[in-house]
Symmetry: C2
């Protein structure tokens, strides 16, 4: 029996619902369009369509380009049915993995400089991804979308990415302002500013809008 379908299987199936792709194209397309929602390795993206074929959700066609073969995968009717059924299921909670935040939690084992460097790196990464998303989406206004009928979906998705990357950049600014007041990373405990933040949290007031820099 073929191995079971995972969320990644449905991610690839979703791409196949747009148009047929070769294995190589799938890896490129998934890297480009799914990177910020469901980032998966090239290796896995080569394996998934085979699994879909084994389940009857896609069909494979060998083509030849000169001496070399390539496989074009096409979604089947069963594949569309399975995808529609999956769309009605409950999604797993969102998950964030951030090494830089791990450095914050364990900051007492390094210098203040180590900590700000880690946060700067996270902000730089976020800023770069922000720029990439802006560039790609600005192109949609000039008819650059590869599937124009899908523009409403990719643009709405892009708004989330932009807000997220913007949040990261703004939060790092806030965090660095805080850390700038720390003489060391270690043993500070409940500082006045920490207490002020906690009071805001307790009152569920926004933190980034008015950073505790005083009047």
């Amino acid at each position: 029996m073929p191995s079971r379908l995972t969320t990644s299987s449905y991610a690839v199936l979703g791409l196949l619902a747009v148009r047929p792709w070769t294995g190589y194209e799938l890896t490129q397309q998934a890297t480009r369009s799914l990177r910020f929602a469901w980032p998966k390795s090239e290796r896995l993206l080569y394996a998934e369509p085979k699994k879909l074929v084994a389940h009857g959700l896609a069909s494979a066609l060998q083509e030849s380009v000169g001496q070399r073969n390539r496989t074009v995968y096409t979604i089947t009717d069963e594949g569309r049915t399975a995808l529609t059924a999956w769309m009605a299921t409950v999604p797993q909670p969102p998950v964030l993995e951030a090494e830089a935040l791990l450095r914050l939690l364990f900051a007492e084992n390094g210098s203040v400089n180590n900590l700000t460097a880690a946060l700067d790196q996270m902000a730089a990464d976020a800023a770069e991804m922000y720029e990439q998303v802006v560039t790609i989406n600005a192109g949609y206004l000039d008819g650059q979308h590869p599937f124009p009928q899908r523009t409403h979906l990719s643009v709405l998705f892009a708004t989330f990415q932009l807000e997220l990357f913007d949040l990261i950049v703004r939060w790092v600014d806030f965090a660095k302002a805080e850390i700038d007041t720390w003489p060391t990373t270690e043993g500070l405990g409940m500082t006045d500013r920490t207490e002020a933040i906690l009071n805001k949290i307790k009152q569920q007031r926004s933190l980034l809008e008015s950073p505790p820099t005083g009047p």
Copy 2:
């Protein structure tokens, strides 16, 4: 030779730098405190300290509670040195995994209701995590922090979590207002509202502050 150290190894090493823990305690503590920065399975969290011992970064001590054994892991001097060295390295970019956003990208394969249900679920998950973080942090004001000298670190970390979960809830509101104007999930392409969003993106203006609901 022992298998190589991963970021997860340093995550566990960071916990051991705080105090010694048994394997079971490590799984509980990592689930609680690292869940939103470096979420890892219980199974892995049992395996990592063994790897640290093999590398000489931690020592293991068998204790007995009645008829049963348990292992207490303690960081070594080499472990502290390795952790400090790791703190100075460059962190990997942050990564978000969100099944609900995958449903948005492939929304044309389901109903408008399917899509809003997926986004509602993401918002509900975020709201629940938000409440958990507020509850835990409010307790710190009453001296509930298990390691009071680390309060400044966990509170600053918490501000990021809260901003992230709040963003998700607010973005879902924004997205649902948009989707409410869609007669279907499919083939809408470049709608007037999508074009308005794209123009804002091009001008790098904030999207959530003034949603395009018109005057």
